[in-house]
């Protein structure tokens, strides 16, 4: 009798457990891939091997590695990954237990070294080719009887390949926009500066240089340009530092900017930029002007004076 009771209690709990735990299938994915970017300058007929570290910081999962080409999507550094492989660059894995397109298992808090071999066949014409190494999880198993959207996570690392027989690169840049997005500002405004460079050459380029601010009293400030890549035949907004930060909660930063100037400005200001792209490259220039006046302070003083005069007149009438 006692045994029966125990068996009944065990069955009661196990059946309830099996019934009610089927919904707790929340699975977390957390991946890390390093390095996030590889730049390779290489001659045709050569091959290199690059080591990546892929970490799984979430639940155990199956992962699939693949390489796809990408292109610049806009001038903000976003990319568009193409759906099919193309281009002359050949990729393979040196890991004996891994291969591209073949899923492998990665435990929680474990990592996998990926040895990626990049090979350039002979007789390839000079040019740039851009790819992403992608690590993709498998979606979880579908839950029967309920509507569900299962998600899979893909993490990428970009590979920029410049193929050159001679070691020379084609540099053909042009400044397409250098503006403060307005000519007249209040003295206390943060002044937005936008600098955009187009690369009409066959190879990616790295801008180096400064944005200089000169006021009408001779005061100057210099802001170093951040050396981010501009892909071949694409445009990119160039950022400079140090820049003040705009508080986006005020909904004032709806447009991207290269630099925010902050301080107290008064009068006419000249803003200029000089950019070069490495040794023996041409230097390109652009300049613009803006004006700043203390409109808010003047308005505040006027309003105060008017209010005081009104109050005094009323007092005198009384």
């Amino acid at each position: 009798m006692k045994l029966k009771k125990i068996v009944l209690i065990i069955m009661f709990f196990t059946i309830h457990y099996s019934l009610f735990t089927s919904h707790s299938l929340a699975q977390q994915v957390s991946l890390s891939l390093s390095p996030p970017l590889i730049e390779l300058f290489i001659k045709p007929g050569k091959a290199v091997m690059v080591a990546y570290k892929l970490e799984n910081l979430g639940d155990p999962t199956f992962l699939n590695l693949k390489i796809l080409p990408f292109e610049a999507k806009d001038s903000l550094g976003n990319i568009r990954i193409k759906s099919e492989f193309e281009g002359p660059v050949r990729f393979s894995l040196d890991n004996s237990e891994l291969s591209l397109g073949k899923p492998f298992f990665l435990k929680t808090n474990s990592s996998q070294q990926i040895l990626l071999r990049i090979r350039i066949p002979e007789n390839i014409t000079d040019g740039d080719y851009y790819y992403s190494l992608l690590a993709e999880t498998n979606p979880p198993t579908a839950i029967e009887g309920v509507g569900s959207a299962r998600t899979k996570a893909t993490i990428g690392s970009n590979i920029l390949v410049t193929i050159s027989n001679s070691g020379n690169v084609d540099i053909n840049p042009k400044i397409t926009l250098f503006s403060t997005l307005g000519k007249v500002f209040d003295s206390s405004d943060k002044i937005p500066v936008v600098l955009t460079v187009v690369n009409k050459g066959k190879n990616m380029i790295k801008p180096e240089g400064q944005i200089s601010l000169k006021g009408n009293f001779g005061e100057t400030s210099k802001y170093d340009i951040i050396s981010k890549n501009i892909l071949a035949q694409s445009e990119r907004m160039i950022e400079a530092t140090p820049s003040s930060l705009m508080d986006c909660r005020e909904r004032k930063c709806l447009f991207p900017t290269s630099l925010f100037l902050s301080g107290f400005f008064i009068g006419k200001y000249n803003l200029s930029t000089q950019i070069k792209f490495g040794e023996n490259s041409p230097t390109i220039f652009a300049s613009t002007i803006f004006y700043a006046f203390p409109f808010k302070i003047v308005a505040g003083i006027l309003i105060t004076v008017i209010i005081v005069i009104i109050i005094i007149k009323r007092n005198n009438q009384d």
Binding site: V48, A153, F217, K228, N229, P256, V308
Partner: protein, 244 residues
């Protein structure tokens, strides 16, 4: 006389203020966006090499001698930063269960997307569905068009979806680095459909400093009374990539 005195007192207070403040011509910075102020950091680090490859984590010109001898130069990481920073991406829940879909009663479920990228900045997260939300035999819940009329949404534009008689499947977003058209929790978009050759939609992106950026994706499904019963399923692919 009294009026004159008061005006004199106001001028005495305001003029010195304006005079004092116009001396602060120097451009003051609230904070810097990046750790490295100079683009010229080639003295910061050395080369890592083995018999099979060479790695450099510093900026510099294409070394002519090195290039002609080995035939290649490899640089790892972002050249304007001192170190190679890992790029991390998390999804808090990969199984977004709506439960049993009931006609005219919208079902919602959420998951969080997290990007961790040190201070190196630019990244993007895109989303695409591998096919519509459908049952095994192929009966689909259409992608939402939101409330319709002036509130017709698309894969690239969120609009209000609050009507219980507006049917479909879509998503809304809140949190960091999300598209500006997700004004509040009533704004939704349909997912781009890979089977219809639609391009992925950017759901998170940042051109500035990015460290532990978190957004919440709200999945929403609403079916009509004529929708066949069944277990509706789809797969959403979130792709996180750093910039270049």
């Amino acid at each position: 006389m009294k009026l004159k005195n008061i005006i004199f007192a106001i001028l005495l207070l305001t003029i010195p203020y304006s005079l004092i403040t116009i001396h602060s011509f120097a451009v003051l910075m609230d904070s810097s966006q990046f750790k490295i102020e100079s683009a010229n950091v080639e003295i910061a680090g050395g080369n890592k090499s083995s018999t099979s490859y060479k790695l450099s984590d510093t900026v510099g010109q294409l070394a002519a001698g090195e290039y002609s001898s080995s035939g290649y130069v490899v640089k790892a990481g972002f050249q304007y930063l001192h170190s190679i920073i890992p790029f991390s991406f998390s999804i808090s829940n990969t199984n977004i269960a709506f439960g049993t879909l009931v006609p005219n009663i919208p079902s919602t479920a959420t998951t969080n997307l997290t990007i961790s990228f040190g201070n190196s900045g630019q990244y993007q997260v895109t989303a695409i569905e591998e096919g519509p939300l459908k049952t095994q035999p192929g009966v689909a819940v259409p992608d939402t068009t939101c409330d319709g009329g002036g509130n017709t949404c698309s894969e690239s534009l969120a609009k209000i979806w609050s009507s219980s008689s507006a049917y479909g499947f879509g998503y809304g977003m809140s949190g960091d680095d999300i598209p500006a058209d997700f004004t509040d929790s009533t704004y939704f978009r349909p997912f781009p459909d890979r089977t219809a050759s639609e391009p992925p939609a950017v759901v998170m992106t940042s051109t500035n400093v990015s460290k532990n950026r978190v957004s919440t994706v709200t999945f929403k499904a609403n079916i009509s009374a004529f929708q066949q019963s069944g277990s509706y399923q789809t797969v959403i692919n979130f792709v996180a990539t750093p910039s270049y």
